[in-house]
Amino acid sequence: MFRFLLQRLVMGLMTILAATIAVTLLIHLVPGDPVRIMYAQSQGTTPEQLEEIRARLGLDQPIILQYVAFLGRLAEGDLGTTIRGQQPVLDLLLVRLPNTLLLAVTAMAVAAAIGIPAGFIAAYNRGTWIDSAVMMGAIAGISVPHFWLGLLLMFWFSVSLGWLPVAGTGPLSLILPALTLGLSNAAIMARMMRSGMIDVMGQDFVRTAHAKGLPRGIVLRRHVMLASLIPVVTMMGMQFAYLMGGAIVVENIFAWNGIGRLAIQAIFQRDYPIIQGFVLIFAATVVSVMFVLDVVYALLDPRIRRG
């Protein structure tokens, strides 16, 4: 088991490392002069000031040195400062990160609460109208753009009915964004749950369980469910990453104060330090959560636990 976890840990660290490299290269992939683009909107910047900024950001150094310097600053927790207000990027992101995590985790809970039972019901009643109905619903669910769904929900519940706030970051404001993300993902989870369960139900050991004369309920609970649990954990990992991505858009719609919203603003303002910081924090978050899920997976599967 430890070998497995060590492997996953190394992969995770390498991912974060790759993120740092990508982030350093990001600025240099910009067509044109990044510094000038960054400050394009603030009129009074003289060429000398631009040079000074360029030097401060270390952009006139060779790339390797820049990278090393970047790593050095990173080790001290310094992700640079924003273009506008000269605020430390790391602080800006860290303040908002919990909001995004809250949103993602809540959405995942919603998605799982709807998707897993739905997929289970579909698989259990495979071939009947129940199965078709659930699957149709799931396909419809994944076809509806989540940003559209979000807007519709907002207009209905907030504007028309006035039950929930339109924007903001309080607990009531969590409901709509989480619901938006969660519903879209529930459809995906339902489909994956269904195909996973059908796989498991077709396995030989389930046939053996039936042959032993175990009641259907026990076969289902003890054999099918338990064996399905493991792929579900893997699925959750992927879904979390997906949800984090979706949160970026949803945060925008509902003005939910998370890192996604900050990132979009930064993109429009060409505030590259924030964008760099965002990419890094995002990748690190995804990697960390997936590692936690890897640990759960390793504990659940005796083939890995006992090697």
Binding site: I142, S143, P145, F147, F155, I264
Partner: protein, 288 residues
Amino acid sequence: MTALPEIVDRKARPLWLRLIRQPGGAVGLTLLVLLFLTAVLAPIIAPFAPTKMGAGQPLTPPGALHLLGTDELGRDMLSRLIYGARLTLWIGLIAVGISLSLGTAIGLVAAYAGGFVEKLLMRSNDILFSFTETLIALAFVAVLGPSLTNAMIAVGVAAIPFFARSAYAAALGEIAKPYLEGAIAAGAGHGRLVLLHLLPNVMPVMIVVATLGLSNAILAAAALGFLGLGAQPPLPEWGYMLSSGRDFFNRAPWLMLYPGLAIAFTVFAFNILGDALREALDPRSGGR
């Protein structure tokens, strides 16, 4: 051994027939053909030019003259949606074209080459996977600047890890079978093995992946458009139309509803077609 023995396998029916027999296949295919025709025949069937401001009074509700109403600048919604179909299909096809070609190449090469190359490619792929498609697409657009072309490339590149992984898994499955070694014994070199043996046998899976990938690409492109990072105005891109319709929801809900419906239906069509394709290519009928 004199008379020609019967053909043993009854599953020799051509793919098209098997596809149509699935309800999803028939519906999906029909919808897509309609969509395709709409896009191709746009200049003919659209009543107005999509960027013509003042074609009608601004914010006219759907009616006889403007079947789907007009937007805040007086442009005809129906025409914009029809031309939007063109854009959408175009984006989808280019993006998937990028993902399919590069992703399949990476996956096949990784599976075939094995050893260090395989590990390098697939681990890098896993790393990119962790970044999530949304992040990659955003990063791309952030760096290159918002535009239609950049959105297409961004969405295409962002989906490469998924295509590469699918191609890799499918290729591994084929490599485990001895027919490749049979070809090696028959004198085939690397090129022949990969292009004539491996690729054709991996294509069915990749076609399904591509179809579902199209639905994904369209959603992703629409999301970028919604954020204002994709096709720029006045191009009638559905995502952008949805976003600009947001401000007028109270007075003119159709501005936001129709583009959303258009996206949903298109993605829906690709999804059920993809599902039906998957069923048709992997017949699990007849038990085990």
